[in-house]
Symmetry: C2
Subunit: 405 residues, 2 copies
């Protein structure tokens, strides 16, 4: 008898019929004899509606109260799913963050899980209940309701699986797994049967929106095998796990991200302290900087380019223009029509020439590379946005990802 | 400095603009220097939507989970109201049932309050917070979410006022007080400045839907003065209180109820145990019987008539038809076209002839009385439904309720 955590996202519980469909899936699994913990998100659209309410009520909503409002979406779905399961003859019981409790820090609207108490869940499982848990929410040590940030239900599921040492955490979504790249761009994209945590982490943070980044970090840290499956079909699935049985692929997938903008400070003095002077105000303004590239200096001056999320672009430019004057930059130029294309693969570590292969594939199509950044298992290039789909296609082919293995 | 509990119903917080309006009202009161506890209902329509969800999910929804779902409506409004108040520069903090906690029994969907802890609210008030409390909900001793039944937010407000010994509990609604009768029927109906708990209780249970019956019982038991006011105007208001300064009016108001149906068992044996045999199955089916009239027997047989809510009528008839056979009743007849007209007044106790005055006023208009039932401060008559408005008007006039006092 296994202990399985199943998580269903907003589109999987989007209306009453879909909730009943989830209940049938859960019922089938329960009949196999497994112990089940089911984590659900809010009905799709519901969280947006609630966030909208708070924004209409105040320009800057109080965050403690924001969490009180937005956490209700998941409360509705756990109740409804439990009602559906009970009506099917199962014993099912819903749990809110405070009832378990799932203890978080007090960073309202983006809290982090500190601890999950196990007694009540274990007791309910022992009594034969299907345990239905509200995703996305917790409670801080003072008894305030907290939420984990958008997509936080994935994190709830993985954290529960880690705490209770579940055999597997199944994430049900509207796609049947993780693909070598976006099938909308490359019809030959293949579903991966397995992928390592590290690769998944790079994929997730690069815009392959199957799993929330933090949930993958959690899964990697606590070695929780995560199975990504479709709510609407039985077949398929991708296992995100520590070890891949097969030999590691050099490149496992191609990711892209069109949501960044590029800012360049032209001809700034190449001396210590400049970078810190630049990026501290951005950090203070809670603006996340992704890629940073600085070239060797010529005549004591250098150019520095970095990327930020498009949604932060305006605020970042205002801050940077002020600093540019302070540090005597010659100019500030920016570009919002860029895309970041990345190749990801754990096998890269032991294979030379992967970067060269990427650059030459892009060069063959006359796609100019504006910025390059690399990690152990990833190479990212910034290119002109209009070449996004072309670049994804040529790289997918260049690394043989369309060929079954 | 007074401690005031203010309660705003669903229509008062029906959308974001209305919530902001409530925030302005609360803000004004806070600026006067009072300590404030604000209880709010769900946005109008919201609870119905949630109840509807549960009914679509299962024919008979599990009641523990029903409460998990329907309690979210109030959670949204306390968050939004607190956001609005904070944005106006006040310190405001929302409290859910479990956070106070408001301890109830475990009768899901119709729980009763057992105890209200005071420490957290008192602390928040001392720190200068406006305390915003979710109406309608509590928590049982095992940590399950419970709800108090429809209209339960009134009860939450009165119970908080009682527990914290508030100076007054103000119930804000869409009318500006309690009237001598329904102004839609009698344009001359007057707003009462004061009314006793007992009179209000009779009014509330007879269909004058200003206050939930249980909240009045609570107010009476704990001697909490309740002020009924309009959210949308400053003037008016009716104080529901223990003592009326002025001499008690013989009749304070006229109430009517068209939501009952009448069932008569014709010629049943007049012997001990029959009534119990009749009403036990109805009680078991959770059908509330209102008026019961049994006449003296003739030739060892008697007729027994009782009324039930129209919504229970079908189920009641099914049960009664079976019993009728068992006890050898000659026949079962029923009538859904009835109305119950009641006159209410604490002064009735010390005035003879009030009943006669009522009967003769109805007789003058040729309105036949089908059933009569009396309490210390109330006389109710069942009449044909088509005479409802006429009966209300003639009684309102007969007892001089249109004349200012």
């Amino acid at each position: 008898m296994a202990l399985v955590v199943k998580k269903f996202g907003g589109t999987s519980v989007g209306d009453i019929d879909k909730i009943k469909n989830v209940a049938r899936k859960v019922s089938k699994a329960k009949d196999k004899g497994d112990d089940l913990i089911v984590v659900v998100s809010a009905m799709s659209g519901e969280t947006n509606k609630l966030v909208d309410y708070t924004n209409k009520t105040a320009e800057i909503p109080d965050l403690r109260e924001y969490d009180v409002v937005v956490s209700t979406g998941e409360q509705v779905t756990i109740g409804l799913l439990s009602i559906a399961l009970n009506a099917m003859g199962h014993k099912a019981k819903s749990f809110l963050g405070f009832q378990i409790p799932i203890i978080t820090d007090s960073s309202f609207s983006k809290s982090r899980i500190i601890k999950i108490e196990q007694d009540k869940i274990k007791k309910a499982l022992k009594e034969g209940y299907i345990v239905v848990v509200a995703g996305f929410q917790g409670i801080d040590e003072k008894g305030n309701i907290t939420t984990l940030g958008r997509g936080g239900s994935d994190t709830t599921a993985v954290a529960l699986a880690a705490a209770l040492k579940a055999d597997v955490c199944e994430i049900y979504t509207d796609v049947d797994g993780v693909y070598t790249t976006d099938p909308n761009i490359v019809p030959e994209a293949r579903r991966l049967d397995k992928i390592s945590f590290e690769e998944m982490l790079e994929m997730a943070s690069l815009g392959a929106k199957v799993l929330q980044t933090r949930s993958v970090e959690f899964a990697m840290k606590y070695k929780v095998p995560v199975m990504v499956k479709s709510t609407f079909t039985e077949s398929g699935g991708t296992l995100v796990t520590e070890d891949k049985d097969m030999e590691e692929a050099v490149v496992s997938g191609i990711a892209y991200d069109k949501n960044e903008a590029k800012i360049t400070l032209v001809q700034i003095p190449d001396k210590p302290g400049i970078a810190s002077k630049l990026f501290k105000p951005l950090t203070d303004a809670n603006i996340n900087v992704d890629m940073i590239v600085q070239n060797i200096s010529t005549e004591g001056n250098t150019d520095l380019t970095f990327t930020v999320a498009k949604s932060d672009f305006k605020r970042a430019m205002e801050i940077i223009k002020d600093i540019a004057k302070d540090i005597n930059a010659k100019n500030v130029v920016s570009d919002q029509s860029i895309a970041k294309i990345s190749i990801i693969g754990a096998g890269m570590r032991s294979h030379a020439g992967v970067a060269q292969q990427m650059f030459s594939a892009l060069a063959k199509e006359n796609i100019n590379i504006q910025m390059i950044s690399t990690s152990e298992i990833k190479i990212s290039c910034v290119i002109e946005a209009k070449y996004t789909e072309l670049a994804v296609r040529v790289l997918h082919e260049a690394f043989g990802l369309d060929k079954a293995k």
